[in-house]
Structures are given as structure tokens and as C-alpha cells.
């Protein structure tokens, strides 16, 4: 069992172990024999007469098909391969990712998305601030920094793997710079591909973006702006904020802070994600909401969510939930 870095006392260790064992038993009942998980040098059961294609993670050893990775066996028609469970993020077209700008280069931004290379967001794949569709001129290129700077957090979609790297696009209103919130990093294999990655939690006024690369953004809700209308009003304000950053007095800054209730919800959701990441559970909106409700119902202080007691409770709750869904379906 994977060692979890929590300081648990004896009873908590036993309870956690029991909950995790229960979850493991569900998963092993679910998977059929042919999709069994394998470790290195396990032989993969294959019907040799069928003319099987050996994919990634397999090796032909003395006529036997043997796994070279620890993972799950996947079969697609005649292709048999082993998919590693704890792999680095592997981007696919259409994935929503959250990244941090590492460099402003010629006509593009380079973003760090926790992948083996930096992703590229071309200037032409970005909507201009004034919303007009036109050719990007040299002036646009010089003003790139006014759109995104270094270390900005950006939400975008994967466009594809081009010759010079992974390309992203951010042509819709829902993509773009993320402010007023916090960025969390979880292992990428915990975020599965779903239909919806943008979640607007109305009752808390919080935006939750589950990036497929393991970057999760929790922040105050920002309405998707119509750039053409707002441009005249908001642009001078933004420029003021940036240029007068040092001379803005503390009182003025305080007025622009997130309201307290929203901040509490943001921190609670962030802690829920942290707890799920520590326990290694898949991060989906349902599980996050369940964890949130559990913590609210127990009247826990927000920072106590990161304590060992709550982690054990979450594990037990998840085991319960899964046993209930098993009984239903």
C-alpha cells in the first residue's frame, strides 16, 4: 500500500488501511481477467492465433508476451499495450489545460504545463483585447506583454502536436488569464477526461477549472467579458493598476480583495482538492462537492481539513459511496 505522508495515530492508521482495502476489493472485482493490472515481467494472456500487434510496454520473450511496465493492459482490436498508471501528463487534442507563462517569445508565449516540454500559445491563437479579427501586426507583437506576462496563469485548450512542440489555443471567452484565486498542483493521472472541466459553483461564487495536466485553478468567479464593449472602460483601469502598483495605498488595495465568504469557499475547495490528492483519489466535481459537504457538516475549521482525522473520514466516506454505487448498479 502506498505510504501516505500523514501523521496518523494507531487507530487512524487501522481505519485508513481498512477503507483503502475496501476500495481495492471493489476495483479488483470490477475488472475482468483480460484487463488485469500487470507488473514488469508479468505475462499478458493473449490468443496467439489471432495475430496480435505488440504495442507500448510489451515485449516478446520466448514467444510469450511480457509486460515491461507496471500498469493496466489495454486492448484495441488487435493491438495490445500496457498503459502506465502514474505516467506524466500525455496531452490529447481538445484537452483543457492550465499553464503558467514561462517565456514571452517571438509571436508566441511558452507555457509550463507540467509536460516534458513547454507548450506554445501562438499570438494568432489568442483573441486580441479589442476583439476584432485581424492580422496580427508588429505592434501587436510588441504589445504581447500587455496581454500575458511571465508567470501569469492561463487556461487554454490543446490544439495539437505541431513540429515545434505542443500548440494551444485560447480563442474562446472562457479561456485566458486567471486571476483572483489559487493554483494547485496534483498528479495528472488523478484528473480524468470528462465532458466538463469548467465548473462554476454558483452557491459559492467560485470558479473551478480541472486542468487535465494536473493544474487545478480555484478562484473567484469572473464573468466571461465581452471585450468589445468593456474595452473602453476597463482598459484604463487595468493600466492604472499595473503602473501604479507601488503607489496604491493599502486601503485601496484592500477594497479590491476577494470578499470573505468567497475566500472561505475558495480555501475550503482548495483543501478538499489537497486532501483528495494526498489520498490519491480521482478528482472529479462530485467527489470535491462531497468532501466539501462533509467538512461543512462536521463544522470543521478550514485548516483542519488538512489534518489526519479528516483524511481518514474522507477515505471512509469514499469507500461507503463506492459500495453504495456497487449495490445499485
Amino acid at each position: 500500500m502506498r505510504e501516505i505522508e500523514l501523521s496518523l495515530n494507531q487507530t487512524q492508521k487501522i481505519r485508513l488501511k481498512r477503507a483503502l482495502e475496501k476500495l481495492e476489493s471493489f476495483s479488483s472485482k470490477a475488472s475482468s481477467n483480460s484487463n488485469a493490472s500487470v507488473s514488469i515481467s508479468d505475462s499478458i494472456p493473449v490468443n496467439h492465433e489471432d495475430g496480435v500487434l505488440k504495442g507500448h510496454g510489451t515485449l516478446d520473450l520466448n514467444g510469450e508476451l511480457v509486460a515491461t511496465l507496471c500498469g493496466v493492459v489495454e486492448r484495441v482490436n488487435k493491438l495490445v499495450y500496457v498503459r502506465a498508471l502514474r505516467a506524466r501528463y500525455k496531452p490529447e487534442v481538445g484537452d483543457i489545460v492550465v499553464g503558467r507563462v514561462s517565456e514571452v517569445a517571438q509571436k508566441r508565449w511558452r507555457l509550463d504545463i507540467h509536460y516534458s516540454q513547454d507548450a506554445v500559445l501562438m499570438l494568432s491563437s489568442m483573441n486580441l483585447p479589442d476583439g476584432i479579427q485581424r492580422r496580427r501586426t508588429a505592434l501587436d507583437e510588441l504589445n504581447m506583454r500587455s496581454i500575458f506576462e511571465e508567470n501569469d496563469v492561463i487556461c487554454a485548450e490543446v490544439r495539437g502536436n505541431q513540429h515545434d512542440g505542443l500548440h494551444l489555443q485560447a480563442r474562446s471567452q472562457k479561456y485566458g488569464k486567471l486571476e483572483r484565486g489559487q493554483l494547485l498542483t496534483v498528479p495528472p493521472y488523478l484528473v480524468r477526461r470528462r465532458k466538463q472541466h469548467f465548473h462554476h459553483l454558483e452557491q459559492y461564487g467560485v470558479d473551478l477549472i480541472l486542468g487535465c495536466n494536473g493544474f487545478i485553478w480555484v478562484g473567484e468567479h469572473v464573468e466571461a467579458r465581452d471585450d468589445m464593449v468593456e474595452d473602453q472602460v476597463s482598459k484604463p483601469e487595468q493600466q492604472n493598476i499595473k503602473s501604479n502598483k507601488n503607489s496604491i495605498s493599502l486601503e485601496e488595495q484592500e477594497q479590491t480583495y476577494t470578499p470573505i465568504e468567497t475566500r472561505q469557499s475558495i480555501c475550503r475547495i482548495a483543501n478538499a482538492v489537497r486532501v483528495l490528492s494526498i489520498l490519491g483519489f480521482n478528482i472529479t466535481i462530485e467527489v470535491i462537492m462531497d468532501t466539501m459537504n462533509l467538512s461543512s457538516s462536521l463544522n470543521l475549521d478550514i485548516h483542519e481539513m488538512l489534518g489526519s482525522e479528516f483524511c481518514v473520514l474522507v477515505a471512509e466516506g469514499e469507500a461507503e459511496r463506492r459500495s453504495l454505487t456497487k449495490k445499485k448498479g
Binding site: 501569469d152 496563469v153 502598483k245
Partner: protein, 287 residues
Amino acid sequence: MVGLSLGEKHFIQGGIAQDIRSDGRKRLTYRPINVETGVIPQANGSARIRMGATDVISTVKAELGKPISLQPDKGKVSIYVDCSPTAAPMFEGRGGEELSTELSVALQRSLLGGKSGAGAGIDLSSLVVVEGKICWDLYIDCLVVCSDGNLLDALGAAIKAALSNTGIPRVQVAAGASGDEQPEVDISDEEFLQFDTSDIPVIVTLTKVGRHYIVDATTEEESQMSSAISISVNRKGHICGLNKRGGAGLDPSIVLDMISVAKHVSEQLMNKLDSEIAAAEAGEDES
């Protein structure tokens, strides 16, 4: 260390101003502290402290040596900190040396007092074996395994835990040695004397961000600080050492205010640490 965007910095500053930090803590709340003692069996005493993601290991090794001629009735203690490259990429090679020296000096000032040995948090007179001739040299070595802010507090706590785990072998001095000769000593392998750690101070670091101070800052919060004061306070509430970091100037009234806040926080921290250390030692005895 990853950079932060303007929006994230604003969020952190807002959180500190509104008393709800990024993980929900209040300004004066510590992260959960996890203490393990006896992690390195070859040393006389060792401890590992985890505060959130910050992970430090401290070991104590005792050797017989000669006391300094100016202080014949006191033993010697030397503290050294090493930042492992696994803690952060910038610590690779010689990158961590500046931080290591800064931490070592800060710890020495907080725990050992001045050059004359006066005001030391650790009682050096208990380390002497034969006055003027033989004393115990304690080498305290600390390793930063993972760094997520608040290293000084974690190191101070680790040293306290390691010293309470330290067993100094009992020494038999052969009687009848003349004035100048080195007396014969017999170091026993069996009996150990536990070090008295009730007077060892704890270090509380207060980081000033905007108008407020926070305790136990993470790396992101530390990147927003204007200045930080580390105060080591002992059980009686007396200040054993004071250290200021950061280029911004502080009004003296703010410094006094921070000191009183640190005194208040140190009581809770001291109690928490003592109970955790006791639990860790009890757990170690069982296993």
C-alpha cells in the same frame, strides 16, 4: 521556486489581510507538526520534523574534546545546516550554501548565545567532564530535505527534539591523575545520560506581509514578505535570540509588537512540541 502571477500575489496578500490564508489557516496558526525521533541510529540523538511540506532532519553527535582555555568549565556545541539539493533545484551544487550559512548563524545566535557562552539556551556547563581538560563536544548537524517555507522554526524544533533524544554516554574518570596529564577516561557503552532540554528555546518566525504578521509562512507567502523577525523564546518567556531578515525597514513599535506576539505564540508552540516529542519518544520505545 515557481514564480507567482500578479493575481495570485494579490490573492495571497488579501488572504493574509482577511485572516484566511491559502489553506484556511489563521495568521497565527501553525501547520500540523509531525515529530519522529531516533531516525538515525548511528547518532547520539536525532529527530525529523515535518511542518506541512517542510521536512528537516537534525542529528546530534557527541565526542570527547578539550574545552576552550577561556571557558574551562563549559563544553562546546557547534551547529551546522546543510540544504540538500532534493529540497529545491536552486540548492544544487553550491547554490544552497548561502542559505545554509545564514541558517547556521541564525541558529547559533538563537540557541548558543554570545561568544563568551553567556546566555546560551543550551546549558554548556552540563557538558563538562573534567574541568579544564575534558568536555563533551556536541556536533549538531541539520539537513533540509524539503523546503516549503519557515525553515528556521522547523530547524529549531528539530534541534530541540534531537537533543531530547540524545543520550550521552556515561564517563568514568580514572582518579589520581596529576595536574597536566590527560586523565584516563572510560566511556561506557551501556549507560546514557539524557540531556536536559527543558530550557531549550523554540524559534518563532514572524513574517510581515502588508500590515499583518503571519506565523509559519509557506514559500509563496514568504515571497510576498517585506521583512521577517525570528525570535527564540524559552519556557520562562525570555528572549534568547533575535534575528531580522528582509530589506524593508521596520518601525521600532512594530518590532516590539511582533516580539509580544511571538511570545504569545511561543507558549502554544512549546507545549505542542513538548507533547509531540513525548509522543514520538513513547512511540519509538514501543517499536
